[in-house]
C-alpha cells in the first residue's frame, strides 16, 4: 500500500471537514472485473476510488484529484492525477502544479495531444479520461476574444508508462541474442535545460475551430541504443549478446487541428510533423541500430447521425519521410476508428461499439458495451474487448487477451 497517498487523502478529507469554506467533493467508486475468453481466468479485478476536491473563487482556485486502484486482493496503486492551483486575471490565467493537458480534435488518437503522457499499462483499454497522466507544469493561457494563446513549461519529464513484464499487456521483444539493459541514461534530470516547452494558438469561431501548436519535448518512448557483442573465437563473428541502453531524445513537433460543421456533419482534422525521431533499423552501418527520421502523423474524421444513432469515424496515417527499407517500422501506417452509439429508454440505456482497425495488418480491437443507468448516480456496464487479426499487428498481438468485463459505478 502507498502510505503517502493515503495520508494525503486523509489530510485532504480532514481539511475539507474542518474548513469552514466549502470545498466541493465529487468523484466515483467503481468495481471492474474482466474475464479472459480463452482461459476463463480473471484478467482484471480492480476497485477504484476517484476523488475530486475543488474550490473555485473569482481570483483563485484549486483542484486535487487523487485516484486509488485496488488490484486483486490488496495491491494498491495510488495516482495523484491532478493537483494544481489556478490564478485568474482579466486576460490570462495561470495554472501551476500537476495537471492534465488535452489538445487536438482527434478521439482516441494522440497526435498533437502529446503534452500529457499516456499510461499504457493496460494498453488502450482504460477510459480516455483515465489513460492520460498528469504532468507537473506551469501553464499560462492568454485570452484575446475567442482566441487563446497557451504556453506550457514542464520542468520534470514524465515518460509514457508501459506494462511491467509480468503484465498480460507486456509483449516481450524478440531479440536475436540475449539482451542486457542499461537503464542509467533513461532518466531525465529536471533542469532548465531539460524543460519541455509547448505553445498553442487556438480560436473558436462561428465557422471553424482550430489550433496551431508547436513543442520542444522529449520523446515519450525511449530509443533503444543497441551495442552488439560478438564472439570471434570461431574465426567468424557470432552474435552472443546485446547491450541495450534506453534513452529519451529531444523531439521537435509542429502541428494543428480543426473542427467545423458542414450540413450537419462535423468534419475534424489534426496533423503533426515530428522532427528528428529515432527509429530502430537493421542497417549494420547505423550507430546503435538507430536512424533519425522525420515523420507526419495525421487524422481526418467525421461525426454524424443516422436517425438517433450517433456515428463517428476516423482515418489515421503515419508517414516516415526519407524512408529507409531497413527500418523496423513501415513507411506508412494506416489505422481507422469507428464509433456508433445509441441512447434509449430516456438516456438510461446506452449501446456503443468502438473499434480500432489496423488497415495494414488486418487486425482490430472491437469494443462493444452496454450501459444501464439505474439512476443518475448508479450505472452498470457490460462490455467486451475483442482483439482479432494477425499477431504482427498492434491489436492482433493481444488476441489471447480478449475479455468480457463488467463495471459497476457509483458517482457522487
Amino acid at each position: 500500500m502507498n502510505t503517502k497517498g493515503l495520508i494525503l487523502i486523509m489530510l485532504l478529507i480532514a481539511s475539507m471537514f474542518t474548513n469552514a469554506q466549502q470545498t466541493e467533493l465529487s468523484g466515483f467508486v467503481r468495481t471492474y472485473e474482466g474475464i479472459n475468453y480463452k482461459t476463463g481466468e480473471f484478467s482484471i479485478i480492480q476497485q477504484t476510488l476517484n476523488l475530486n476536491f475543488a474550490k473555485s473563487g473569482d481570483k483563485v482556485a484549486f483542484k486535487a484529484n487523487p485516484m486509488m486502484f485496488l488490484y486483486n486482493a490488496d495491491s494498491l496503486n495510488f495516482r495523484m492525477r491532478e493537483l494544481y492551483l489556478d490564478m485568474y486575471f482579466d486576460n490570462f490565467d495561470i495554472r501551476i502544479g500537476r495537471q492534465q493537458v488535452v489538445w487536438g480534435k482527434a478521439d482516441g488518437v494522440f497526435i498533437t495531444d502529446i503534452v500529457s503522457p499516456l499510461n499504457l499499462t493496460e494498453f488502450l483499454l482504460p477510459d480516455f479520461d483515465e489513460i492520460r497522466m498528469g504532468v507537473t507544469a506551469v501553464k499560462i493561457n492568454y485570452y484575446i476574444g475567442n482566441s487563446t494563446i497557451e504556453a506550457i513549461a514542464i520542468p520534470q519529464f514524465t515518460p509514457t508508462e508501459r506494462p511491467n513484464d509480468y503484465s498480460i499487456w507486456y509483449i516481450e521483444p524478440d531479440f536475436p541474442a540475449p539482451p542486457t539493459f542499461d537503464w542509467s541514461k533513461s532518466e531525465i534530470t529536471p533542469s532548465i535545460e531539460n524543460t519541455e516547452v509547448f505553445l498553442k494558438y487556438s480560436a473558436m469561431t462561428s465557422k471553424i475551430d482550430f489550433e496551431i501548436m508547436g513543442g520542444y519535448t522529449w520523446d515519450d518512448n525511449p530509443a533503444m541504443h543497441i551495442q552488439k557483442e560478438f564472439d570471434m573465437s570461431t574465426g567468424s563473428p557470432v552474435l552472443v549478446g546485446l547491450n541495450i541502453t534506453p534513452q529519451h531524445h529531444r523531439l521537435g513537433i509542429g502541428g494543428g487541428s480543426f473542427s467545423t460543421e458542414i450540413k450537419g456533419i462535423i468534419l475534424r482534422g489534426e496533423a503533426a510533423y515530428y522532427n528528428g525521431k529515432y527509429f530502430q533499423t537493421a542497417d549494420p552501418l547505423a550507430t546503435d541500430a538507430l536512424i533519425q527520421k522525420d515523420y507526419l502523423h495525421y487524422v481526418v474524421g467525421l461525426d454524424f447521425s443516422i436517425g438517433s444513432v450517433k456515428l463517428s469515424t476516423q482515418f489515421i496515417q503515419q508517414y516516415i519521410f526519407d524512408y529507409d527499407t531497413m527500418m523496423d517500422k513501415t513507411e506508412f501506417k494506416n489505422t481507422a476508428t469507428f464509433l456508433a452509439r445509441y441512447d434509449m429508454l430516456r438516456e438510461t440505456l446506452h449501446l456503443e461499439i468502438f473499434s480500432y482497425i489496423g488497415l495494414d495488418d488486418n487486425d482490430a480491437l472491437i469494443r462493444p458495451k452496454i450501459t444501464y443507468d439505474f439512476d443518475d448516480s448508479f450505472s452498470v456496464l457490460l462490455g467486451s474487448n475483442i482483439f482479432i487479426g494477425e499477431r504482427a499487428g498492434m491489436f492482433g498481438q493481444y488476441q489471447d487477451n480478449s475479455m468480457i468485463y463488467a463495471k459497476i459505478k457509483y458517482s457522487f
Partner: protein, 257 residues
Amino acid sequence: MINLKTIAAAILIIVAGFSANAQLTGTQIVEKAYNRATGDDQTSTLTMTLTNKQGKQRIREIMQFTKYLGEIEKSIMFFKSPADVKNTSFMSWSYDSDKNDDQWIYLPAIKKTKRISSDSKSDYFMGSDFTYDDLGDRKLNADTHKLLREETINEKACYVVESVSKDEEYMYTKTITWINKLNFIGVKKEFYDEDDDLLKVLTIKKYKEVSGFWVITNSEMKNVQKDHKTSIVLSNVEVNTGVSASKFTERMMMRGM
C-alpha cells in the same frame, strides 16, 4: 438552440406589448410571441424534474446565461447535477439568419471542448420530454401558422393557433398553441406525432415579471402516450444585469461558473 430565451419563450410563447386584436392572422400572433422583448441578458437556475409513470423522479440542475448581441444570441449552460454530468457545460450561438446554430460541449472528464452538430433538434434533451427544438429557437418561418379559433381556458381568453411544419420529415405533424389574448403569453401547447395523434402537452403553470420582462418560471411537458412528464422550474432569475460577452467563450466553458 437551447437558450434561456426560449426556455422562457418558445416553451411559453410570450408576446408583450400587443393588444388583443381579432383581425390578427395566425402568423402575426406567433410572430408577436417570438419577437417579444426579453432584455439584453438573462441568468437563471433551471431545475428539470423527470417523472415516469411509476412516479419515480430524476432531477437535473443547470445554471444558465444568455446574452443578445445584435443578430447573435449566445447562451451557456453549466450542469450542476446529476453527479455524472456535473461541470459539463454547453454553449450555443444562435443566429437571426438561416445559419445553423453553433454548438459546443465541454466534457470535464476528458477535458475537451467539442463542436457538436446542431442537426439533431428532434433529440430529447437529457432524457426529458423536451426536444432540443422544443427548448430552442425554432424559426418562425419553419411552420405555416393558422388561427383556428378563440377559446377560453383556465379563465383566460386565448387565440388558438395551429402550426404545421413545412418539413414533411419533422417529428411533429402539427402543434396547436393557446395564446393569451391579453398579454400574448402562451398558456398551453399540444404536439401531434406523425400519425397525427396527440403526443405531448405543454402547460405553462407560472410566469412572473422580472425587471419589466415576463419570464416563465414553471412549465410542464407531459407525454400522454408514455405517461411521462418533465417540469421546468426557473429560480434566481435575473434580467439585464450586464452579463459580460466574455462569459460565452471556451475559457468559461472549461472554468465553470
